[in-house]
Amino acid sequence: MSRIVVLGAGISGHVAATHLRRKLSKKHTVTVVSPNSNYQWVPSNIWVGTGRMQPKDIIFPLAPLYKKKGIEYKQAKVVTFHPEGDTEIEKPYILAEYVAGETVGAMEKVTYDYLINATGPKLAFDMTEGLKPATNKAYSVCTYTHATEAWHALDQLIQEMKQGKKKKILIGTGHAKSTCQGAAFEYILNVEQELNRHGVRDMAELTWIANEPQLGDFGMDGMLLSYGSNIMKSSELVEMVFEDRGIKWIIGAGVNKIEDGIAHYETLDGEYHTETYDFTMLIPAFSGHGFKAYDKNNKDITDKLFKGFMIVDADYTPKPYEEWTVQDWPETYQNPSYANIFAPGIAFAPPHAISKPRVSKNGTPISPAPPRTGMPSGITAKLVADNIIDTINNKKPSLRHKGSMGNMGAACIASSGYGITKGSGISITTFPIVPDFNKYPDTYGRRLGKTFGEIGLAGHWLKLALHHAFLYKAKMRPFWWLIPE
């Protein structure tokens, strides 16, 4: 009888929990500890942020589903890790604090045989002075609550534009080391489409601001891709789209302070600037949650488990960009100190960035952190679950399932406007996610053909189809497991 505890019910935690439950016999317990009572399909938040979807379209409550499927659920947040137990309890456990219901505030030691840490990132707004959702005219679309606030403010702005007032909109990254440029990219294009739909496009100045050294870097060092019969750089593709839509851009910019309607930033050439706005949506830095870990004698062993995010089977030896290899990236997401702890999705500590690190003339690092999008989050969660299932069923440790981001493809279907006949999407696939310069030396480390871009209405349909398919899968409807991660 084993107990597998999954921390977090986002894309990776939910994928792990559902696969474990489906494949393991009922004598084993699957427990999910997560503070948010709802599952949210995060990628569709950009449509909530433009008023084209309601939060109810992208969320569902976890408790009834977990009850029906035999998954134990605790609406709580992990506070500390105790991988060796303590002087009272021999078994490893995590300390969880309940966040809702009658037990709110109560603490519980949740013991486990296997632990999957899928707590994703902390949205570190506090790393940028003055950046806080719905303050200083700054918004976020990282959660459905943030996205709802963003839409209300944007809607208000649209009404003012309809009355003839010109407005400035600034969208991008809100910290010198932010990641998730793709989400901001989608949002700016969706906002542009909405302004057109409301007939106020000419009343708005739309500007992209990002820590990317070049447009289309996306935290992945950019890419060379096939586009129709051409081969082009992602920077050229994005530049084409921005110019075509009249979007200005500021790149190599590390936003460091937000005041009411003013963004302060430093550029790679070491200059300090400001940009004024009437509405801004900026992706914050993502950081680890700052969890602490203790051994059985209550001695702090945080550095055995965490390096910001959770330490896994990556090669963390510091080395220059020129020496980075795909082999540095983890394959099994297992913690090297405790073989029964895993961290898929965004929760694992990457060995380094993917984009070349850059510092401004003043010594400020300004370059994107590595993204871990939905697809790798799901894939890594499933392979972690599969290794645990094999280990339990075969009664001996198994790490047969492997999935390095250096040997995994990802599809980024970026919505560039909502609408069944007027919508559009930019579909970009990348293989591998982390460039392998030894295997593909002439094509920027990626395999052409499997790394391609497409623009058009079909992209919007695809994004919408994925929205429905992944929510169907998450709700564990009949044959849900046939839908790949």
Binding site: G246, T429, E454, L457, A458, G459, W461
Partner: protein
């Protein structure tokens, strides 16, 4: 705004019939890339 996408290209991008076939093509292509498998990169599994 600078016209960077030609009228013909734009027509192709937004024509529902052409895009329907593109949708099928893209779905399959993406499925092949993404569901096409993944694995390790280290010498020991090669």
């Amino acid at each position: 705004m600078t016209r960077r996408i030609s009228k013909t290209k734009r027509f192709i991008m937004m024509n529902p019939i052409i895009q329907f076939f593109k949708f099928i093509y893209l779905s399959l292509k993406i499925l092949v890339i993404v569901a096409g498998g993944h694995g390790g990169t280290r010498r020991v599994d090669q």
